[in-house]
Amino acid sequence: MNVLVYLVPMALLLGLTGLAAFMWSLSSGQYDDVEGAALRILDNDDIEVL
């Protein structure tokens, strides 16, 4: 059972990292325009047409 000593903190840390990532994406406005984001990806304006 000694593995728990480092497995549990690690699992919690990973979970917290995910939570922090979500909080960051929320506060940086990534959910403000969900439909637009789905469409913007289709836009090719960063590719030079040969």
Binding site: G18, L19, G36, L39, R40, D43, D45
Partner: protein
């Protein structure tokens, strides 16, 4: 047009840049984003343009010394999009903030619920195998470590609301929720410290997670409808021609008008604000104000109201404030009275909470006493009583109504009904009497050509295209019949008389009988206006009048068939209402009513125990809308009427009214079903809890099972509503 629009009220300046938010019409595909953003960035001085596709809003930032605000709107118009700037409402940004907070709370609760459940499953399986007590305590302490901060953060929306309710000595659903969560956490902590087998950290946090899901969805739906309503209001916003200090005419948005401003109202335009006429005379169509379809003559000194249509002559007017003994004052006074008389509606969920909370708390107390009486230890009795509180914790009950509401308002939103009030669905479902206003509600807001079928199609087309060159309201009604929307070149408008142009080598005229030199026209009926077209010896007299909405007859028939009492209360003359009521098959109608008469009629119905749904659009309907049990307005309604309606419907058809009623009734049925499901769940779970058999595993399974069941049941509101031919 050479006139430029002064949009400075909408521009905000910060850090050397000017910023403006616009609502954009006609955005529908991926290409639009690029077209609009790239198109605007080509303008000199534009720093950033970003379109939010979800709410169809555009944020533009530019250097103010290089570009005027109106150039942005003009550029969009050139690209092919109609846009109107708007000031973000404070209520809207508050809602956005709350939604974000709820989402954060939901994320925290979700994270905590998942991790604690991971630990709990280990404990449950360990309890039936060979888990040592040290390991179990360790897992329980870990759960506490996650659950306590998570509940402290994610539970805030419930704790706050419960505290607010308790302070006003009321009970809402959040009181038993908060109590259940706090007791579950406290007891689990105590049990963990005493090395006990069971802890309920998972139940407490999972409960918060489920409830936050419901609450966030409800909020997101409300936010979306509010954004759409805001856009519609912005796009409807009209401009006024204001005389500036030097006597020159400047176009300004209506939002920038102040009392005392002098305005120019040209023929064919709507009056942008309430005021008095300083000079000029004209016929004014006040159908949006009083419901009267015949134009009224106004001269210098006369009072005119927002939304009236100026027919014949240019007017100069002064914007006035309320408080000068006008119709507006009477409406305001009646509104105040009606709104204060309206008793606060007790929502179904609040009524359920009033019954539920005392019941649960008494049951828990009785359980405690019962176990003590039959000689159980104090500790065990308390644990069992708390288990009762946890298992009855209204997961199903608190989800039962919001989920139905979210799904129903989504369905209504798709059929063109935007809800203003949160409890509108419940009140709509209760309506047993519908009162329609006539002008602009049963009829289309704009007049139409009545006898279009009587003429050859190419004659109608020519007349309609010639009408495109005129601003006169009658000509504009005719112009709606044009298939090809290009005006005839070289058309000349003679103000107050008509338009003429050369078509195929001979002169065509459209206008009054005198202008077209026609004498043998039959005298029109009282509510019909006519406009004459002559060309190459042919002559056509178009009859123009208010026409019923295309599906009005079918909708009224459906409403009558579903057992509703349909009535018409109109401000228009009785002679104008009668034929229309006959066509619709409505026997209970009254004409020539003043705003106070409409309220009196509604009060009389209310006194007879009726629940009235009022549908109206005019300024004169506003008090009646506020007095009725529930109310709806078409989107073309006067501003004051719309703000007092519980729901607004879009489009030229009347069917949204029927859909609103049927969807609301189905939603109420499902709410009641869900409440019964919750009752059945409790009837099974509570005895088990009282008997002391509830383990954390049973609590978790019961809680999630019942929540999923009511949510699935709520989805049934989406069943396709019946369509009317």
């Amino acid at each position: 047009m050479t006139e430029t629009l002064d949009l400075s009220v909408f521009v905000r300046r910060a850090g050397g840049f000017a910023h403006m938010d616009l609502a954009v019409e006609g955005v529908g595909c991926a290409g639009c984003i690029r077209k609009i953003e790239a198109g605007l960035k080509q303008l000199p001085g534009v720093v950033d343009a970003r379109l939010n596709f979800t709410n169809r809003r555009l944020a533009v930032e530019w250097r103010p010394d290089e570009l005027e605000a109106s150039a942005v709107v003009d550029a969009l118009e050139r690209i092919g999009y109609h846009a109107h700037p708007f000031e973000p409402q404070r209520a809207e940004s508050e809602e956005a903030k709350t939604a974000r907070k709820l989402l954060m709370a939901l994320a925290v609760a979700g994270f905590a619920a998942m991790n604690i459940m991971l630990l709990s499953v280990s404990v449950w399986s360990g309890n039936v195998s060979d888990m040592t007590q040290e390991t179990r305590d360790f897992f329980h302490w870990l759960s506490a470590l996650i659950a306590l901060p998570a509940a402290a953060y994610a539970g805030q929306p419930f704790f706050r609301s419960a505290w607010r309710a308790l302070r006003t000595r009321a009970l809402n659903m959040d009181v038993p929720i908060s109590l259940g969560v706090l007791l579950a956490l406290g007891m689990s902590l105590y049990e963990t410290a005493a090395h006990a087998t069971h802890a309920y950290f998972d139940s407490a946090v999972m409960l918060l997670f489920f409830l936050l899901c419901g609450r966030y969805l409800e909020h997101a739906m409300r936010q979306r409808t509010r954004a759409v309503a805001g856009n519609l209001a912005a796009l409807k916003a009209e401009v006024a021609h204001r005389f500036d200090a030097g006597g020159e005419v400047v176009m300004v948005p209506v939002a920038a008008l102040k009392p005392g401003d002098r305005l120019l109202v040209r023929p064919g335009e709507r009056v942008p604000a309430d005021g008095t006429v300083i000079s000029g005379s004209s016929d004014i169509d006040e159908s949006l104000v009083t419901g009267e379809t015949m134009p009224r003559k106004v001269m210098a000194g006369g009072t005119i109201y927002t939304g009236s249509l100026n027919h014949s002559g240019a007017l100069t007017m002064r914007v006035t404030v309320a408080g000068e003994g006008t119709l507006i004052d009477e409406v305001e006074r009646l509104l105040e009275k009606a709104s204060s008389a309206r008793s606060r509606y007790l929502r179904l969920s609040d009524r359920a909470a009033r019954l539920y909370a005392p019941l649960v708390h008494t049951t828990a107390a009785l359980t405690l006493l019962g176990w003590l009486v039959i000689g159980a230890a104090i500790h065990d009795s308390i644990i069992t009583a708390i288990a009762v509180l946890i298992i009855t914790c209204p997961c199903a009950l608190a989800l039962a109504i919001p989920t139905v509401q979210v799904v129903a308002s989504g369905a209504l939103f798709r059929s063109g009904v935007i809800l203003n009030a949160g409890d509108a669905i419940e009140r709509l479902a209760e309506a047993d009497t519908i009162i329609f206003d006539k002008t602009g509600t049963l009829t289309l807001p704009e007049p139409r050509v009545e006898n279009a079928e009587a003429f050859a199609p190419e004659l109608l087309e020519q007349a309609a295209r010639l009408a495109l060159s005129s601003r006169h309201p009658l000509a504009q009604a005719l112009a709606r019949e044009a298939r090809l929307r290009t005006p005839i070149t070289g058309a000349v408008e003679e103000p107050g008389q008509g338009v003429r142009a050369m078509i195929d080598g001979s002169e065509a005229r459209l206008g009054s009988t005198a202008f077209c030199d026609v004498t043998d026209v039959p005298a029109p009926q009282s509510d019909v206006s006519s406009i004459v077209f002559t060309h190459a010896g042919r002559c056509a007299v178009f009859a123009i009048r208010q026409r019923l909405r295309a599906d009005a007859v079918a909708v009224v028939r459906e409403l009558l068939a579903s057992g509703l009492d349909v009535r018409i209360l109109s401000g228009d003359r009785a002679s104008a209402v009668e034929p229309l009521a006959a066509v619709l098959g409505v026997t209970g109608w009254q004409g020539g009513l003043k705003p106070a008469d409409k309220i009196a009629a509604i009060e009389q119905l209310k006194a007879g125990g009726r629940r009235v749904l009022m549908v109206g659009d005019g300024l004169n309907d506003a008090p009646a809308l506020a007095a009725a049990h529930v109310s709806m307005s078409p989107i073309s309604a006067a501003h004051i009427a719309q703000t007092h309606a519980d729901a607004v419907f879009l489009g030229e058809r009347l069917v949204p009214v029927l859909q609103a009623v049927t969807t609301a009734r189905r939603a109420r049925r499902l709410m009641q079903q869900n409440l019964w499901l919750a009752v059945i769940y409790n009837a099974i779970a509570v005895p088990v809890a009282i008997a002391g058999f509830v383990t954390p595993l049973i609590a978790a399974a019961a809680m999630s099972g019942s929540s999923i069941l009511v949510t699935l049941n709520a989805l049934r509101v989406r069943a396709r509503p019946r369509d009317v031919a």
